[in-house]
């Protein structure tokens, strides 16, 4: 048994490469590994040779150095620096790709909570400690946390991103082969940290679509967000018939919004979120600062649904399941 496990561990097949990113990260990793191994081998051989040849009492010649010390120093500083910079640029180039999700990525919301992953798909299907994703589709995971810092880690995809309370951050990947992979929380989050694990199930797009439909969805995220919009009293002010002078929110998402202080703000998820939690931070030009803060009133899950609703107000077509159709 353990022989198999060792083989699993030592062979490259031990860790599946199941995303578009994985082979690119592996290539960089193995290039660096080969360079390092070569360097270690050179040093070991060189050291052993010198240690044996110049052991005390050996007949090897001693005395002053027969070569220029400073040239040697400059030489190895230059070579080291060149190799290091090469790997830096390779890494940075890949990292920029890794951190920029494609614009049409399919969005799934994931909330970390001591000690579980709470996953919400666009059509409202919800699952815990499991994440179903379609292969061949860029998936953008919108991460947030309800308590402490967690970290979304899928080794098979070479993806990791901290979920930080108080903000929404995103990570993206495109799964390439169907299968079941580990999902770990990588940032220590308390007693049951090592129990905050789950599975990522990558499915062919049609299987994923079927899985979505089978689910327990009550209604999709924007529709639930619409209900919350009424329940939390947002509609009382932000609607055409309101007595209160509050901005209307139709088409708000993605707009360049002028602020009272003369600046312009690009309306994204962070802005919408801040406007709900800390409304006084950025005041829209032409409106008084009236709105109360909803900090501590709206839980993280509801917040995501509200933002999904606000986004859907701006979209030409409500997002059913984009990216699935070829």
């Amino acid at each position: 048994m353990s022989g198999d496990r060792l083989a699993f561990a030592l062979l490259s097949g031990g860790l599946p490469d199941a995303s578009t990113l994985a082979p690119r990260v592996d290539a960089l990793f193995y290039a660096l590994l080969a360079t390092s191994t070569l360097l270690v081998l050179i040093l070991v051989v060189l050291n052993l040779t010198l240690l044996i040849r110049y052991r005390r009492g050996s007949p090897a010649p001693r005395g002053p150095l027969p070569f220029s010390q400073i040239k040697l120093e400059i030489g190895w500083i230059a070579v080291t620096l060149a190799i290091f910079l090469g790997f830096f640029f390779w890494g940075a180039w890949l990292y920029l790709d890794q951190t920029r999700p494609p614009v049409d990525a399919y969005e799934i919301r994931v909330i970390g909570r001591q000690w579980m992953w709470d996953v919400r798909h666009p059509n409202g299907r919800r699952e815990f400690d499991e994440l179903h994703v379609p292969i061949g589709t860029p998936v953008r995971v919108l991460l947030s946390s309800e308590d402490v810092i967690h970290s979304f880690f899928v080794p098979a995809f070479r993806v990791k991103q901290d979920a930080v309370p108080g903000k929404v951050v995103s990570a993206w990947f495109e799964a390439t082969r169907p299968g079941t992979y580990h999902l770990f929380c990588a940032e220590y989050c308390g007693t049951e940290h090592s129990g905050m694990t789950g599975q990522v199930v990558a499915l062919a797009p049609e299987d994923y679509a079927a899985w979505l439909e089978r689910g327990n969805q009550v209604s999709n995220l924007p529709i639930r967000g619409r209900e919350l919009f009424v329940r939390y009293g947002c509609a009382g002010c932000h609607s055409p018939g309101s007595q209160v002078h509050a901005p209307l929110l139709e088409g708000i998402y993605g707009r360049l919004q002028p602020m009272a202080n003369g600046e312009f703000v690009h309306v994204d998820e962070t802005y919408l979120r801040d406007s709900i939690l800390i409304p006084g931070r950025q005041i829209v030009a032409g409106y008084p600062n009236l709105m109360p803060s909803f900090q501590g009133v709206i839980p993280e899950g509801d917040l995501l649904e509200l933002i999904a609703y606000l986004k859907s107000l701006g979209a030409a077509n409500p997002p059913a399941s984009p990216g699935l159709a070829p």
């Binding site: 496990r5 052991r55 005390r56 290091f84 890494g91 940075a92 308390g190 940290h193 694990t197």
Partner: protein
């Protein structure tokens, strides 16, 4: 003039001493105790990790164990190890001074250290802390139960001991060098202690204020780092790593200094590229302050900040690599013998190279995203901290043991112990690199079964490593009382500390020595 050991035998003559050598031994005794407590915790964890279910301890206890291990090893063993034990003992001897510049401050720093240690031990006995040594907010400030405040205050207090020692070293190196001992005639160990002291003095206060803020946040319920109350948890990480990354260099620079000394002594040659090795210590200390953000590549800090920190992290690796090349080149045309300190030094060079190269993996952004917070990181920093610093510490203890005790240890026992340590270390930590790349996260009490084989290998290695650390206690302890007497200079080494009797006299030198030659100068290479 009596030697420093014969100068008094009462408890008071030790606890009230102003002699830097005795204070060095006070540190030696105290950090040995802390080391074994922390090592015991590591042993329990490795035992627990033999099975994937983790059935030796509970998750809660496991979390307390790794916190205890980290806090004690970092602040109560590694940071004081070479600077406070060997630095205290040997620095004034190396520069021909009678003592450190401020002997009372030196003794006070030991008492502060012990006060901090007492608080931390009390926090552990009272139930422990489960935040990890990094105290990440908002977990530590809001969610963790346990004695976080006590622990944080303990570390806070100990910080002032570090600052006092660093300040003392800086002033001593600047102002108390023997006549003729110019900066570029200083032994490289002194250079490394100087660079270390700069970090101690400039980084530690930031840690102090950060831990104070965490403690106050818990006490007052203010959200300095809690997003629910307007705070920013990333601010904590920035402040913490602004200290803790330079602190990593506190935990390796002195080791590099010891290795330079031992290789020069046992290869009977001046260290190749002396000036470059000396200046690279300073370069590491300065650049070390600019790379803290590489601990935060996946923390949601700005992508461009990540790129800049990655570049700087590659740059800080250059001076370290230079040192390795220069140590190797020192062997060329040397006259090399293989006493125990040399074996530890060679072990250091090998393990530090592996630790340093895997540091490049972590500086490479996409690889770090994958292996951040996995066992890869654990293996990497243990190669630096244990394979590097502890190897150098053991080597240094053996190298200066004749000066400390006046006696020789049993050479072959010590050589075999060094080999056991080297083997046990690699068996413990090499499998962790593989575990990390396969995706096993750190601080996991329960893990998926496919990781078991590698964990068993690692635990087996840990038991061998324990033997390697236990044996020196026995044979060094024995030799302290019964070993063969050592002359003033048993290794035939250069350096002022070898020109005075062993054990060192109370005031170090009969007459203040005058230096007229470069460091490691021995006329024509002999033998």
């Amino acid at each position: 003039m009596p030697d420093y050991l014969a100068a008094g035998h009462t408890v008071r003559s030790w606890l009230g001493t102003l002699d830097h050598k005795r204070i060095g031994l006070l540190y030696l005794a105290s950090i040995t105790v802390f080391f074994w407590i922390a090592a015991g915790a590591a042993g329990l964890m490795r035992w627990d990790l033999l099975t994937p279910q983790g059935d030796v301890v509970t998750s809660d206890l496991y979390n307390r164990l790794f916190t205890l291990h980290g806090v004690l090893m970092v602040w109560f063993f590694l940071i004081p190890s070479i600077p406070n034990v060997l630095g205290n003992f040997i620095l004034p001897l190396m520069i021909g001074a009678r003592d450190l510049a401020f002997p009372r401050l030196n003794l006070a720093s030991w008492y502060i250290f012990m006060a901090g240690g007492a608080l931390v031990l009390y926090a552990i006995l009272a139930g422990g802390v489960d935040t990890g040594w990094t105290f990440y907010t908002p977990y530590s400030s809001t969610y963790a139960n346990g004695h976080v405040m006590l622990m944080a205050v303990g570390v806070f207090v100990t910080g002032f001991s570090s600052i006092a020692t660093g300040l003392n070293f800086i002033v001593t190196i600047h102002k108390l060098r023997a006549p003729g001992l110019t900066w570029f005639r200083l032994p490289l160990f002194v250079w490394s202690l100087y660079a270390t002291s700069l970090i101690l003095v400039l980084a530690t206060p930031v840690l102090a204020i950060t831990l104070l803020l965490v403690a106050l946040e818990r006490l007052a319920g203010v959200g300095v780092f809690d997003p629910k109350l307007g705070g920013d948890p990333l601010l904590f990480q920035h402040l913490f790593w602004f200290y803790s990354h330079p602190a990593v260099y506190i935990m390796i620079l002195p080791g590099m200094g010891v290795v330079s000394e031992t290789i020069a002594a046992f290869a009977r040659r001046r260290v190749f590229g002396y000036r470059i090795v000396a200046l690279s210590s300073l370069a590491i200390a300065v650049l070390g302050f600019l790379v803290w953000g590489h601990h935060m590549f996946v923390s949601s800090q700005s992508v461009y900040a990540g790129v800049v920190f990655s570049l700087l992290s590659f740059l800080v690796a250059v001076p370290s690599a230079i040192k390795v090349f220069n140590w190797t080149a020192t062997l060329y045309r040397g006259s090399i013998s293989f006493e125990t300190p040399m074996l530890y030094a060679l072990g250091f060079v090998g393990l530090f190279t592996v630790g340093g190269l895997t540091g490049l993996f972590l500086a490479t952004l996409p690889i770090d995203v994958h292996v951040h917070d996995t066992y890869f990181v654990i293996a990497h920093f243990h190669y630096i901290m244990v394979g590097g610093m502890v190897m150098a510490y053991m080597g240094g203890i053996h190298y200066w043991w004749p000066k400390i005790s006046g006696r020789m240890y049993h050479e072959w026992t010590a050589r075999i112990t060094a080999l056991i340590t080297f083997f046990g270390f690699n068996l413990t930590f090499f499998p962790q690199f593989v575990l990390g790349y396969l995706g096993m996260p750190r601080r996991y009490h329960v893990y998926p079964p496919e990781f078991q084989t590698l964990n068993v290998l690692s635990s087996a290695g840990a038991s061998i490593l324990a033997v390697g650390y236990l044996l020196p206690l026995v044979y060094l302890g024995w030799s302290f009382f019964f070993g063969r007497r050592a002359g003033p200079n048993p290794w035939g080494a250069t350096g002022l500390e070898w020109r005075t009797p062993s054990p060192a006299p109370q005031h170090n030198f009969e007459r203040t020595p005058v230096v007229t030659t470069e460091a490691y100068h021995r006329g024509e290479p002999t033998d």
